[in-house]
Point group: C2
Amino acid sequence: MIDMTKKLNIAIVGLGQIGNYLYNELNTKKKDILKKTGKIISVSAISAKNINKKRKFRINKKIFYKDPFKIFKNNKIDILIEAIGQSDGISKKIVEFALKNKIHVVTPNKALISKHGNNLSKLAEKNKVNLEFEASVGGGIPVLRTIKEGLATNKISKVYGILNGTCNYILSEMEETKSGFSTVLKKAQLLGYAEPGNPKLDLNGYDALAKVKILSALAFNNKVSNSKCLMEGIENIEYKDLEIANQLNYKIKLLGITEIVNNKLFERVHTCLIKKNTYIANVNGVMNAVIIEGNPVGESVLQGEGAGPGPTSSALMSDLLSILRGNIKYPFGISDNKRKSPSIYNSDNYSNALYIRLEVKDKPGVLSEITKKFAKHKISVQRLIQIPNNKNKTASIVIITHKSLEKDYQKCIKSFKSNKNIIKNPTLLRLF
Amino acid sequence: MIDMTKKLNIAIVGLGQIGNYLYNELNTKKKDILKKTGKIISVSAISAKNINKKRKFRINKKIFYKDPFKIFKNNKIDILIEAIGQSDGISKKIVEFALKNKIHVVTPNKALISKHGNNLSKLAEKNKVNLEFEASVGGGIPVLRTIKEGLATNKISKVYGILNGTCNYILSEMEETKSGFSTVLKKAQLLGYAEPGNPKLDLNGYDALAKVKILSALAFNNKVSNSKCLMEGIENIEYKDLEIANQLNYKIKLLGITEIVNNKLFERVHTCLIKKNTYIANVNGVMNAVIIEGNPVGESVLQGEGAGPGPTSSALMSDLLSILRGNIKYPFGISDNKRKSPSIYNSDNYSNALYIRLEVKDKPGVLSEITKKFAKHKISVQRLIQIPNNKNKTASIVIITHKSLEKDYQKCIKSFKSNKNIIKNPTLLRLF
């Protein structure tokens, strides 16, 4: 518990872009924090791999620790900010250590929370401290707080949205500049919107899925699920997909979706074809947007910058202020012993319409081979577009199906693997 | 202060659509409330003018009081829900009575808070109880909580949006059905979107301005201002305005806007011409939307159903849960003695471009008379459209100006009053 009268000591572990930005915010906004919470704070210790790394805001080297665990030997820390970002390893260890020692924790680490959130929240509850992770989903948008507090007694049936700014930027930019995936990815990396080294976790949907899992747990008062989900990223999208979508009056977006279907939890991340005139189709660039369907509130929409040190710091500060105000709350809104493990919807039974693009050798009989396969797997075709590529004697075949079962799609697509006339893995988009 | 161990007694005063809906929510969601807060609640007393009025949800007549003040003689009430809705009178009296007697208050009453919020919050702070009014702005959208908590340490520079669902519905519906104002107003009244008796406070901008004043106080940490503001409603909008706007690639929306200009507070409500391809232009029907510009968070957007008993109850419940969790907070985010009276921006100096529609007698010399007046008042015309109305020998003259000073517009428009060739008050839209 926080003693109201004394100065509160904060440690920041991890001084990358986010940790460093927050460090500066904390140092410059002490007065504001005092005004809003009545508490005096002090950044008493910081830790990172490299003390001399070039950083935007200068750090006080006198409070620097190479080994983050040593912080706690020399200081009485009240609140730990974990900004390293690993799902396990040092991130997990230091958060566990803090909670066990009755130190509040604030983190933007979605990988950690989506993987270990259940155990960590139990630990926080047992030790009567906070574990806050507003910044893990939606950047600056206070979406977790909105679900936990603003919409507290609503029965939420579905939460979905654009949860990965990197992917949304790439798709928007490909469309706007009529460029290919890899060109735009490079640009995104230069601009700092995508990881320079390994952007895979953004592009393959993993990052968005981690956020979906956190949203599910809060919206439906369940444990964070660890089940396998439908996860498809944007790596196979080419400019021609955007072009075809445009002709059909659609936009392509990577959505994260969680909903309750027949009392079962159905979580998924995949690209969608969305009608142009809808709200979500018009959320462009690095923006994130979350739509919450609840009763009695109806549909609530939240939109804002989804990433970057500024918005992330805004969310971290809101967590910190909640702690400073003495708001000891269950990390997932209700007590751990009241959170059940969700039953999982079997995605094999998911019925939906697909856009499937196949790259094929342009020779007689190929089209009929393919349509035969669709028929064999009980998938009926709603629309078929064949676009020849004269340069290399190949063609793109785009098939939009009527609603069919996921298991049939999977079997059908599997059957294409042995077909030598199909020269690439198919690109899938799901009609929203 | 709330005793953690005992049952908490709630009184609801006012059993109109909102009070009655909330009464039912409280009775049906006790378990959920216990799960989320650890507190057992009981609706111990209710009060309204008429015990026998037809209501959607049946009330327990055993706990009914005709005189709301008698409630407190027979019961120990912990939380009062004020749902009468007057800016003064009984609403003010009972809220004051409750706060003085250390009873928490929750209210959706924007008229009361925008007029007496300063004194009431002082009273709440002095008596160490909560005064919560999330439902007073934006219906189910938890926008006040988002400013107070989710964006707590951001420096907010501007908040604006669609704050009145009635007006937004009327404008959207006029456009969609190509109907006149009074036809659509009648429809809105039938559907319950506009007050059947006196819809004036919605239509003339008063309701939106009350919300603007509450938003300002929270966003800028000021006292609620009681200064005169630019307030224009939608009563003078005709279908032809929507048609002309459409041709010019604009939509018409009633916006509430508050911002800091040269360290001064500039609050206003008026109709705007907004470029069609912007987010806010596409918020239609009874939806509300609020856009918050802050640093470091950037632009945050919140959208949701802005009125109706369901969304309003959702917001009231979020207030109630905040109280039940023992969150004793300053009603306006910071202590009353730290909230300053804002300096007010003089709207005479506001420079903006206007759309001005004049209805004139269609005879020679009228146009030149009008353009002369504009020139005389240093207003330069960017575009002029004259549309004859052959039926009655009148014409509509639409003038879109270059940016000019508000004081010059006012003088110019005043000068039209003595002009017998201008047969109606001009219709103004402001370019956003």
